[in-house]
C-alpha cells in the first residue's frame, strides 16, 4: 500500500550524466568509505543468507547448528513440506505441525494477484495519464488535483468501507475482491506516467495529428510505444508492491483458495507453537516469498535502480 506511493518526485527529464568528480586526497578516506560500504552490504545480505541457511537445516539440527554458518546436514525436506509435497507423517517427522499448508497454492495466488493488478492498473493509469497530459477537456486540472489528493489518504481509512462493500457484494474471499480496489487505479501511477507523457516530444504526435490520427490512435500507436521503458518500470514497481501487500489480502481473502503468500506465511506462523516455533519451515516459506523478487532483482535490477534514479532526480 505504501510502496507504490513511494517516490512521487517530479519526473520531467531523463537522468543527466552522473557528476564525475575525483577528490584529491583519497587513499585513507576511500579505504574507510569502502569499509563502511562493505559493512552495509554484509548487514543487508546476512539476514537473507541466514534465512536460506536455516531453511536447509533439518529441524533436528536446529539447536546444534544454531551458531554454525553452514548446515551440517543440508536438506530440502523443509521446502517439500511447506509446498505440501510430503505426507502428513513425513511432515511431522521433519518437525512440522502436520497442519495443512500449501505454499504452492499461495504462490500461485500471489502471482495471479500481483500480475493481474500490475498489468491492468498500469494500462488503465497510462490511459488516464495520457488524457491528463495531452488532451484538453473541461475540468481536467480539478480532476487531476482530486486524484492526487488521494495520495494523502492513509490506506486503512478506505480499507474499512471497501471491506464493507465487498462484504455486501458477497465477494469476500474471491480473487475479485482481492484485486478490485487496486485493479484500475492508484494515484501514484497516474502521476508518474503523466509526468513522463508531458516530457515526450510533441512533434511526433503533431505529425500524426496532421495525418488525421485521432487522440485514441495517438495514445495507442505513438505515446504508448514511445513510453515502453516507464510503462515497464511501472508494471515492475506495481508487481513488487502487490507481491508485498498484506493487510488487504488478509482481511478480504484469507481463505485457503484465495490466500496469498504473505498471508499464508503469517497463518503458518500462527499455527506453529509460540514456545517452539517451526523455524526451519518458516524460513523455507520466507525463502519462497523472496525468490521471485530476487529473480526480478537479478534480471531487472538495472532497470529498477535506474527507475529510482529517474523518480528521485527531478
Amino acid at each position: 500500500m505504501t510502496t507504490t506511493t513511494a517516490a512521487p518526485a517530479a519526473v520531467s527529464t531523463p537522468v543527466r550524466q552522473r557528476s564525475r568528480f575525483v577528490p584529491r586526497r583519497l587513499a585513507p578516506g576511500r579505504l574507510g568509505a569502502w569499509l563502511v560500504l562493505g559493512l552495509v552490504v554484509v548487514a543487508t545480505v546476512f539476514p537473507f543468507y541466514w534465512m536460506v541457511r536455516t531453511s536447509l537445516t533439518p529441524t533436528a539440527d536446529l539447536i546444534a547448528d544454531s551458531d554454525r554458518l553452514f548446515p551440517t546436514d543440508p536438506t530440502l525436506v523443509n521446502f517439500r513440506r511447506v509446498l505440501g509435497l510430503t505426507t502428513t507423517e513425513e511432515a511431522i517427522a521433519a518437525g512440522g505441525t502436520g497442519a495443512s499448508i500449501n505454499f504452492l497454492r499461495y504462490t500461485m495466488n500471489s502471482f495471479i494477484f500481483a500480475g493481474s493488478v500490475a498489468l491492468t492498473q498500469t494500462l488503465s493509469c497510462a490511459a488516464a495519464a495520457y488524457a491528463f497530459a495531452r488532451l484538453t477537456f473541461r475540468g481536467r486540472d480539478g480532476l487531476f488535483v482530486l486524484i492526487i489528493a488521494g495520495l494523502m489518504i492513509p490506506g486503512i481509512f478506505t480499507l474499512l468501507p471497501n471491506f464493507a462493500l465487498m462484504r455486501e457484494l458477497g465477494l469476500l474471499n474471491t480473487m475479485l475482491a482481492l484485486v478490485a480496489p487496486s485493479l484500475l487505479v492508484t494515484p501514484f501511477a497516474i502521476f508518474f506516467l503523466r509526468q513522463f507523457f508531458l516530457s515526450l516530444p510533441r512533434s511526433v504526435e503533431e505529425a500524426a495529428m496532421l495525418d488525421g490520427v485521432g487522440p485514441l490512435g495517438r495514445f495507442w500507436r505513438f505515446a504508448l510505444p514511445m513510453s515502453r521503458g516507464p510503462i515497464a518500470t511501472m508494471i515492475l514497481i506495481t508487481f513488487v508492491g502487490m507481491w508485498k501487500e498484506y493487510l488487504w489480502p488478509l482481511v478480504a481473502g484469507n481463505s485457503e483458495s484465495t490466500r496469498v503468500l504473505t498471508v499464508g506465511l503469517s497463518v503458518f506462523q500462527q499455527q506453529s507453537p509460540n514456545t517452539r516455533p517451526d523455524w526451519t519451515g518458516l524460513m523455507a516459506g520466507s525463502t519462497l516469498s523472496v525468490i521471485p523478487v530476487l529473480l526480478i532483482l537479478i534480471f531487472l535490477g538495472r532497470q529498477l535502480v535506474q527507475s529510482l534514479n529517474f523518480s528521485g532526480g527531478k
Binding site: 464493507a164 503468500l261 523472496v290 529498477l304 534514479n309
Partner: protein, 318 residues
C-alpha cells in the same frame, strides 16, 4: 501539493490552455469535442476505479465515523459520540505516541544513514549490481522480514541474539517488552535504508560536477562540500523523501502484526494495529473509522507543516 501542480506548467501545457479548457471560446471546436470524447474514454476505467474505491469509501468512512456499526446490523447514527470517546480513550493516545516515537526514530536514523550511504555511493561510483543488492530488503515482503528477524532474535537460539550476548549486549530478544519497539525501528531502518539512499543518490546525481571542482580548488574538505554543496542542493529530494517516509512510518503494520501476533504486547501497538484490531477483532467499525479520520487529519497537518518547513517547492538547482 503545490510542487506537484507546478510541474504541470511546461510549455506544452501552456499551449493547450490557449485553447481554453472552458470549452466555449475555442478556435477548433471540432477537434476539442473529439478530444473530450477521447479523454472520456481514456479516463473511464481509472475514474470508475477512483470513484468506487477511493471517493465512495471516503464518503462512507466519514459517515461510519459518526455511527455505531459492527458490520452485523445497520450503522446507527450517533453524531460525534465516537470522537468524544476518542478523547478519553487512553489506547488511542498511547498507540499514537508509540507510532510517533517509531516514526521519528525511524526517519531520523534512516535519513542520517541514507545520506551517508548516498554520499559514499556518489564518491565511490558504485556498480549498478552493487546498488541493486542494497535494494533487496525493500523488495521483500514485510511478512518475511518480520519472520527473519524474529528468528535472528529468537530468545533461545537466535543467531544475532547470541552474538549480541557474547559482546555483552544481553536481553535483545524479539519479545522483550523493553526492546520491542526499538527492534521494530531497527528492522524498519534496515529495510528502508538502501531504498532511501538510492533516492537521495539519484538527487545527488543532479548536482553539477563543476561545483565540486570549484569547491575542491578552493580547498574545501569532503565534509565541508557535503554540507555546503550537496545537502542544500538536494533539499527538495530530502523534503520529498521525508514527507513520504513520514506518511509511510505512520502506517507501520505488517512488521508488528506478523512479528507480535494477534495480541501484541502493548509496547508495540501502533495506531494502524489498533484501528485494525478495533475493526476486525472488536467489530467496532464506526469507532475504527473515527480513529482513522483522526489519523487522516493528523497526517494531513503534519505533511503540510513539513512541506512548509522544508519549502519543498523551492529548489536552488532549478
Amino acid at each position: 501539493m503545490t510542487r506537484l501542480l507546478e510541474t504541470s506548467a511546461d510549455p506544452g501545457r501552456r499551449r493547450d490552455s490557449d485553447d481554453g479548457p472552458s470549452g466555449r471560446a475555442v478556435k477548433k471546436p471540432i477537434r476539442d469535442r473529439k478530444e473530450a470524447w477521447a479523454a472520456a474514454i481514456l479516463l473511464l476505467p481509472a475514474l470508475f476505479g477512483f470513484a468506487v474505491f477511493w471517493i465512495y469509501p471516503t464518503i462512507r468512512g466519514t459517515y461510519y465515523s459518526m455511527t455505531d456499526f459492527n458490520l452485523l446490523r445497520e450503522p446507527e447514527f450517533i453524531g460525534l459520540e465516537n470522537f468524544r470517546q476518542i478523547a478519553s480513550d487512553p489506547q488511542v493516545w498511547s498507540s499514537l505516541r508509540i507510532t510517533a516515537v517509531f516514526a521519528i526514530a525511524n526517519i531520523v536514523l534512516v535519513m542520517v544513514l541514507a545520506l551517508v550511504l548516498a554520499a559514499l555511493m556518489q564518491r565511490l561510483n558504485l556498480k549498478t549490481w552493487l546498488r541493486s543488492v542494497l535494494l533487496l530488503p525493500w523488495l521483500v515482503p514485510n511478512v518475511a522480514i518480520a519472520l527473519i528477524w524474529g528468528w535472528l532474535l529468537d530468545a533461545n537460539v537466535g543467531y544475532l541474539k547470541n552474538l549480541l550476548d557474547s559482546v555483552g549486549i544481553g536481553g535483545v530478544t524479539f519479545y522483550n517488552p523493553k526492546a520491542a519497539l526499538w527492534i521494530i525501528v531497527m528492522i524498519s531502518v534496515w529495510s528502508g535504508l538502501g531504498y532511501t539512499a538510492l533516492l537521495l543518490y539519484a538527487g545527488m546525481l543532479q548536482v553539477p560536477a563543476e561545483l565540486y571542482e570549484a569547491g575542491s580548488i578552493d580547498g574545501a574538505s569532503e565534509t565541508r562540500m557535503f554540507f555546503g554543496i550537496t545537502l542544500p542542493l538536494i533539499r527538495p529530494v530530502i523534503a520529498l523523501v521525508l514527507v513520504v517516509s513520514f506518511i509511510g512510518s505512520f502506517q507501520v503494520f505488517d512488521l508488528v502484526q506478523v512479528g507480535y501476533g494477534n495480541n501484541p504486547i502493548p509496547e508495540v501497538r501502533v495506531i494502524y494495529y489498533y484501528i485494525y484490531q478495533l475493526a476486525f477483532s472488536f467489530h467496532r467499525m464506526g469507532y475504527a473509522s473515527a480513529v482513522s479520520i483522526l489519523l487522516v487529519v493528523l497526517l494531513g497537518a503534519l505533511t503540510y507543516v513539513q512541506l512548509r518547513i522544508m519549502r519543498a517547492n523551492r529548489s536552488d538547482l532549478a
